[in-house]
């Protein structure tokens, strides 16, 4: 079935006006109902705070996805991601977060992953790569993991249980599973 993203609200953060405008237009074309475009991470945080404090006053009920460029000034994509995942004022620490970046090396990918990124969209990007990332968020959201050193989407994915078994360092009794209605 074809997606209908009319009820979606996407927050786009990019300090490059042309790329920001492109992403905003593309989000509208793929059917996203509301697109909020801001020029950097600090503006994104202000927008998210408004949603968290008073959605009606802020004019935005909820944000469903963040698409943020990594390299932005003064607050870059990584700091924005950290804020979303960890800050007490974050309206939704589980918010799907797509990092748009020209940093394609393993060190950068690992850094974003360890900060709790949901998907990476490497630049240059195409319509196919953009819609694939959105599709991943919609079809295959990962469970979130909290450990003493990490909070974010499960960093292990697309691996079978047998592959993972050897690497697990905790015993079954040290793991707790929380479902929606149990989150306090």
């Amino acid at each position: 079935m074809d997606y209908d993203l009319g009820l979606f609200t996407v927050l786009v953060a990019d300090d490059n006006a042309y790329m920001r405008s492109l992403l905003k237009s593309l989000m509208h074309v793929v059917g996203v109902g509301t697109v909020i475009a801001v020029a950097d991470g600090s503006e994104a945080i202000e927008t998210l705070k408004k949603v968290g404090q008073d959605p009606l006053k802020g004019g935005i009920n909820t944000i469903d996805i963040i698409l943020a460029n990594w390299q932005m000034s003064p607050v870059d994509g990584l700091r924005l991601l950290r804020w979303v995942r960890c800050h007490k004022e974050s309206p939704d620490i589980f918010l799907p977060f797509v990092m748009v970046t020209g940093f394609a090396d393993m060190a950068h990918v690992g850094e974003a992953r360890d900060h709790g990124v949901s998907e990476m969209l490497g630049k240059p990007y195409s319509i196919q790569s953009l819609t694939q990332r959105l599709g991943e968020l919609i079809e295959r959201p990962r469970q979130y993991v909290l450990t003493p050193a990490y909070f974010g989407p499960d960093r292990r994915r697309r691996k079978s249980e047998s592959q993972l078994a050897d690497r697990r360092q905790v015993k079954p009794e040290e793991v707790e599973v929380i479902y929606d209605d149990e989150i306090t």
Partner: protein, 173 residues
Amino acid sequence: MTKSLELDPKGKIKVRYFRRRNRLKDKAGAGQSREPGKFAVVVLEESEAELAKFAEDYPDWVQGQVRELYDLVEKSWYKEENRRSTEFKRINEIAHDMRGQGGTFGYPLVTTVAGSLYTFTGSRSSVRDSHVEIVKSHIDTINVVIKKRGEGDGGILGRELLTALKKAIKKFS
């Protein structure tokens, strides 16, 4: 919410998994169906057309960044070797930006040359005149690619430009 996010260091729980309902799929109209949803073909076609529109205007828009690069090179000339780091940091940022844009708008040659410029300007404590020359050669190459609308690999022109750039790098290195 905060309670669920606290792990008692002395407690027996070391890892907590949060398994939540797939809200995005609900919202996208696909419910909890096991069948994967998809973007309609017409939506993908319209998206490609939108991207093509932006690609048409890209050569004009990017001139602003090219001008800024030339200005930064000009400023570098008037400074001593150990005082050019501000200009080179900005050149590095713009190069990173252009590296991402070029291929998105059908100019992979811009991505290649901007990528080379990004690497070259990455970490230099001292910037000699020869380094500024190499930066200028990169910008000249990008400028020609854009002005000649060298889409794709740029064909013969693209190969000639890359050869000329390599020669310039060798000459000033």
